[in-house]
Structures are given as structure tokens and as C-alpha cells.
């Protein structure tokens, strides 16, 4: 199920503006990789290139390669739609479809792909909601709109929606930044469970969170406004947080800037 991702010589442009320059990194399967760094350093941008979501932004384009188990997801014959159903994404702000029930949200991705029998959908809904640690809280009100849930529950609903289509990789763009500490804890526990099955990449502003949930950490930085973001270093999380190789990393994690 879980696949690895290799990023080779990645440059990301918004129009003529070079936003991220020269990123090389490897994301291991069945592990959590965290992207940390100050605002504007390009960590979310890099994350969005991993499932071609950056293409939603007009003018955004890349140079370089992103390999999913050695398959280049930017090869001309590759359909971005297939990339995105293979590499799921959870966003910063919980975004369940407001016009759909909890049930409808979970099966939204499946309904796009094929007609499925109700009994089969029921099974997927239960499995996905259990997988997102939400089943017990919502099993009696699956027909209610997703908007009746709390922010943390909505985010777990979005995770359930993302894993319902059985992706190989799960990308999370600051999934806890809109949540309270208790909901954050619930998501972090969930991430720990999900990595048994999925390759997970998480962008976070919260260094403690990166330290708690990730196996590998990548630190991005930016030299100044208008300059491109770069990957400064990437290593096992405990190394990054105890003896980083770069001075900039140490300054950032010890709170001296950013």
C-alpha cells in the first residue's frame, strides 16, 4: 500500500517567481516525514507539488522530478487526477463538503470513481471512520451534515474522507493549526496509527508536533523576502532536534528566529 517518494532537483515557480529552489529529498514508506520552517519558506508549496495540487494555482509550475516508487508523477502520460487519487491530502482548514452528510463526505471520493453498492459503501464508511478515530462519535448521526461536528471532528472526517479511497500516501498541510490542543492530540495519535499503513508527509508550524509525530524531519528556510525557499537539511527527527548539522536549523528549533 504505502509507497516512497523521491524528489529530485525540484524548482517551483509561481509565474516568473522562483518560490522553491533545488529540493532533493526522500520520503520513506510507512513513516511520518515532517516539513518544518518559517512562514514563506516553501514547505507547503513543496507538499502541494507531491500530488500536483499546486497546479490549481494559476501560473504555478515545476522543474525537476517527483518519483512515486520510481514512477515520475510529472511524466507526460500521467493524469494528475490519478496522482491525486493515489496521493491523498488533508488541508489546514477542515473542509468537509457542507452540502453532504457525514456519510456522504466519507464516500465522496469513491462515488467519483465508480458506482458502488450501498452495503459496500456502508463498510467503507465504517472502516474509514474507525480508521480516523471518529466512528464512535458519529455512528448514530451519519446522515447529519458535516458542519454539526466540532473543528477537530471535522478534520478527522476529512482524514476519513481521504483514506476512504485508499491512497498510497497521505499529505497533511498543517492539519492541526486550526484546532484546539485536545483535538490536536487526537489527530497526532491518529497520525501515529495511520503510519502503520500509509506514507505520511506533514507540514507543521509547530516544532513540538514535528518532534512528537515524525520519524524524519526536513527543515526549509528562506534567505529573505523575494528569495526562493530551500531545503536546509533533512535527517532523523531526533537528530534534527538534538544535533542538527546546520547552524540555521539549530537557530530555528531553539527559537532564536522564525
Amino acid at each position: 500500500m504505502a509507497k516512497r517518494i523521491d524528489v529530485l532537483h525540484l524548482n517551483v515557480y509561481y509565474g516568473a517567481f522562483l518560490a522553491v529552489e533545488g529540493v532533493n529529498l526522500a520520503i520513506e514508506p510507512k513513516a511520518v516525514t515532517a516539513f518544518i520552517g518559517p512562514s514563506g519558506c516553501g514547505k507547503s508549496t513543496v507538499l502541494r507539488t507531491l500530488n500536483r495540487m499546486h497546479e490549481v494555482t494559476p501560473g504555478a509550475r515545476i522543474e525537476g522530478k517527483v518519483l512515486l516508487d520510481s514512477q515520475d508523477i510529472y511524466a507526460p502520460e500521467v493524469d494528475p487526477v490519478n496522482v491525486r487519487s493515489t496521493i491523498g491530502m488533508v488541508f489546514q482548514k477542515p473542509n468537509p463538503f457542507p452540502t453532504m452528510s457525514i456519510y456522504g463526505n466519507v464516500v465522496a471520493g469513491i462515488r467519483l470513481k465508480r458506482r458502488t453498492r450501498k452495503s459496500e459503501l456502508d463498510d467503507v464508511v465504517e472502516a474509514s471512520l474507525r480508521g480516523a478515530n471518529l466512528w464512535e462519535e458519529v455512528k448514530d448521526r451519519l446522515d447529519r451534515p458535516g458542519s454539526v461536528l466540532s473543528g477537530g471532528q471535522q478534520q478527522r472526517l476529512c482524514i476519513a474522507r481521504a483514506i476512504a479511497i485508499e491512497p498510497q500516501v497521505l499529505l497533511m498541510d498543517e492539519p492541526c493549526s486550526a484546532l484546539d490542543p485536545i483535538s490536536t492530540l487526537a489527530i497526532e495519535e491518529l497520525i501515529y496509527e495511520l503510519k502503520q499503513q500509509y506514507t505520511i508527509v506533514i507540514v507543521t508550524h509547530n516544532m513540538q508536533q514535528a518532534a512528537r509525530v515524525s520519524d524524519t524531519t526536513a527543515f526549509f528556510n528562506i534567505a529573505g523576502t523575494g528569495k526562493p525557499g530551500r531545503l536546509i537539511e533533512m535527517d532523523e527527527t531526533k537528530t534534527i532536534f538534538s544535533q542538527p548539522a546546520e547552524k540555521a536549523t539549530e537557530d530555528y528549533i531553539s527559537g532564536r528566529f522564525g
Binding site: R84, K93, N95, P98, T99, M100, R161
Partner: protein, 328 residues
């Protein structure tokens, strides 16, 4: 006792009124102004209804035929006979044709402008559509009469020849001018910019997060529209259609120019004839006697009520799924 701001009185929170009621003066004034405006609208609406009813009653009492089911208009005869059956028929049918044509096209244009067109073209296109909404209706009427009528005969004949088994499209007169179908088509063009402009605004308000959520699930662009954009925009599109319908129901001059006013209920829509409330009032007003004026006002009252009922129905449609609207 410190912190008296926080502490509640001993007999519970109900002893002090909630802080909201101790408003500032500016808040009070503004609330009064807003409430006054709201009430003024209601009063004006009621006053219009009452005025229509008051002016219509004498004529309705003089009428010797059933007002709602008669398809004749002889209000100034010694024994006045008039009724709105043919008017209601023509008004509703021409408006429905207008909506049936304008809503799919208008929504399509709106969707293209909001989500497909490049960022260079989209604003220009939107601007043109807005301009179209500002064209006076007499222009559309003249255009319908001079351009559309002579050039659309082939279409109506084709419909008769190939789909003539549908009673609505059959034409036994082999005459294709001044018909309800033609009036409906002109109305469609007049309604199109309204529907399109409002739908576009609604489509553009769909939060980016919902669109991205759909795309991230592996939706194609069209699937993202169906999953995230249409359901979210549904109440707004219904409102757009209703505003368009309002314009179509009340449109006077373009219809009066095009229709050859008859008082018959003819289901064969491509044949000449037909009439609407507004066109009838405009055409008959100058020649009407005292009962005639009352009769026209009575027909205006019916139009007023129909417009009301249509808008209420639309509200019901929108409200029914309020919980799922994303507004909460």
C-alpha cells in the same frame, strides 16, 4: 470583593440582563434604522396590494363572468365579461419557456466565467454579461420583432415537422410569427444576463477549500464542479432563476410588441396569438373605460400574487435543505 466584573450576583445570571441590551447610542440608532427599513418594505408591499384590491373591487363586482376562468376581455360592455385565464396562461408559459432556455445557458456561462475562463478573459466576459443586463427591454423587443421573428421561422417549422407529435410544438396554421414561443425566446435573452450574473457571483463564492478538497480526492474539473460547486451554489442559482422569472413575468413592452394579442388559450405555442398580464395592461390602458381600468388593475393584482407565490415557492425550495447549505 475583587473582580466585580466577573462575579455573578448571588441570585443567578437571570438577575442581570445580558450585556447586549445595554447598547450604545449609535448601535440603537442603527438598529432602529434597519428595523424601520424592514418594516417600511412590508408596509409598501401591503399598501400596493391593498391599493390594487381597492381599485379592482368595483370592476370585479360588475363582472358577469367568472374572473379566474374566463378567456374574454369585454369589461366595458353593458354586461361586463372579463377574466384572466388566457392572460395567466400566456404569462406563465412564456416565462417558463424563457427560464427553460435561459437557466441552462446562463448557468453554463456563469460556470465558464467563474471556473473555466482564463483570468484574462473572465472579467471581460463578466463585464459584457453585466452590460447585457442593462439593455432596455424595448431594444430586445424591437430586435425580437425585426430580427428574431423573420429568422426563426425555419426553427419553428422544423420543430413542427419533426416534433409535431408534441402538442406544444405542433403548428396547424403554417404561420410562425407573433407566437408565445417567440415571446418566450426573447424573454429568455432578456433573462439570461440576470441569471448568469447572479449565478456567477454565487459560483465564485464557493470556498476554495471545497474545490481543492474535491480535486484532492481525484476529481476531474467537472467532477469537482458537481461535488463541490453545484451543491453549494444551489440556493443561489435558484434565487437567480427566480429573479429572472420575476423579470420575465413582469416584462411588458417587448412582449406587447411581439405578441398579436388574442384572448385564447392555445397550447400550440408556435402559432400566432397569446397575451400576458403586463402586455395586456399596457395595450388596453388608454382605451379602457371605468370598469375596464378596474378590470386591468384586477389582472395586475393577480400578477402581483403570482409573483409572490413564485418567490415563496423558491424560498421553500432553498430552505428545505438549509442544514446542508454550509450557512451554519
Amino acid at each position: 470583593m475583587p473582580s466585580s466584573l466577573i462575579e455573578r450576583p448571588v441570585d443567578g445570571p437571570s438577575a442581570t440582563p445580558p450585556a447586549v441590551t445595554t447598547t450604545r447610542r449609535a448601535d440603537r440608532n442603527f438598529a432602529g434604522l434597519a428595523r424601520g427599513s424592514g418594516i417600511a418594505v412590508l408596509i409598501i408591499m401591503a399598501a400596493i396590494g391593498a391599493f390594487l384590491l381597492w381599485k379592482a373591487l368595483p370592476a370585479l363586482q360588475a363582472n358577469t363572468a367568472p374572473f379566474l376562468t374566463t378567456s374574454q376581455w369585454f369589461p366595458d360592455d353593458p354586461a361586463p365579461r372579463f377574466g384572466i385565464a388566457a392572460l395567466a396562461f400566456g404569462t406563465l408559459l412564456s416565462s417558463l419557456i424563457a427560464l427553460a432556455v435561459a437557466v441552462p445557458i446562463g448557468v453554463g456561462v456563469a460556470l465558464y466565467t467563474a471556473h473555466y475562463a482564463s483570468r484574462r478573459i473572465a472579467p471581460v466576459l463578466g463585464y459584457i454579461v453585466d452590460l447585457l443586463a442593462a439593455v432596455p427591454s424595448i431594444i430586445f423587443g424591437l430586435w425580437g420583432l425585426q430580427v428574431l421573428m423573420p429568422n426563426s421561422k425555419g426553427l419553428w417549422r422544423w420543430l413542427d415537422q419533426h416534433l409535431g407529435f408534441v402538442p406544444l410544438l405542433r403548428n396547424d396554421l403554417d404561420s410562425y410569427t407573433r407566437s408565445v414561443a417567440l415571446a418566450g425566446t426573447v424573454l429568455a435573452i432578456m433573462v439570461l444576463p440576470t441569471v448568469s450574473a447572479i449565478s456567477r457571483e454565487v459560483f465564485m463564492q464557493v470556498p476554495k477549500g471545497h474545490l481543492e478538497a474535491a480535486l484532492a480526492l481525484g476529481a476531474t474539473r467537472w467532477e469537482a464542479m458537481r461535488t463541490a460547486v453545484f451543491p453549494f451554489s444551489r440556493p443561489g442559482v435558484v434565487s437567480a432563476a427566480m429573479l429572472g422569472l420575476g423579470r420575465a413575468l413582469g416584462e411588458t413592452i417587448a412582449v406587447a410588441l411581439i405578441l398579436s394579442a388574442t384572448f385564447a388559450i392555445n397550447w400550440q405555442l408556435t402559432e400566432p396569438g397569446g397575451n400576458t398580464f403586463a402586455a395586456n395592461i399596457a395595450l388596453k390602458w388608454n382605451e379602457a373605460g371605468s370598469v375596464g381600468l378596474g378590470a386591468l388593475i384586477a389582472s395586475g393584482l393577480v400578477l402581483y400574487i403570482i409573483t409572490f407565490a413564485v418567490n415563496m415557492a423558491a424560498r421553500v425550495v432553498v430552505e428545505r435543505r438549509r442544514e446542508f447549505s454550509g450557512a451554519n
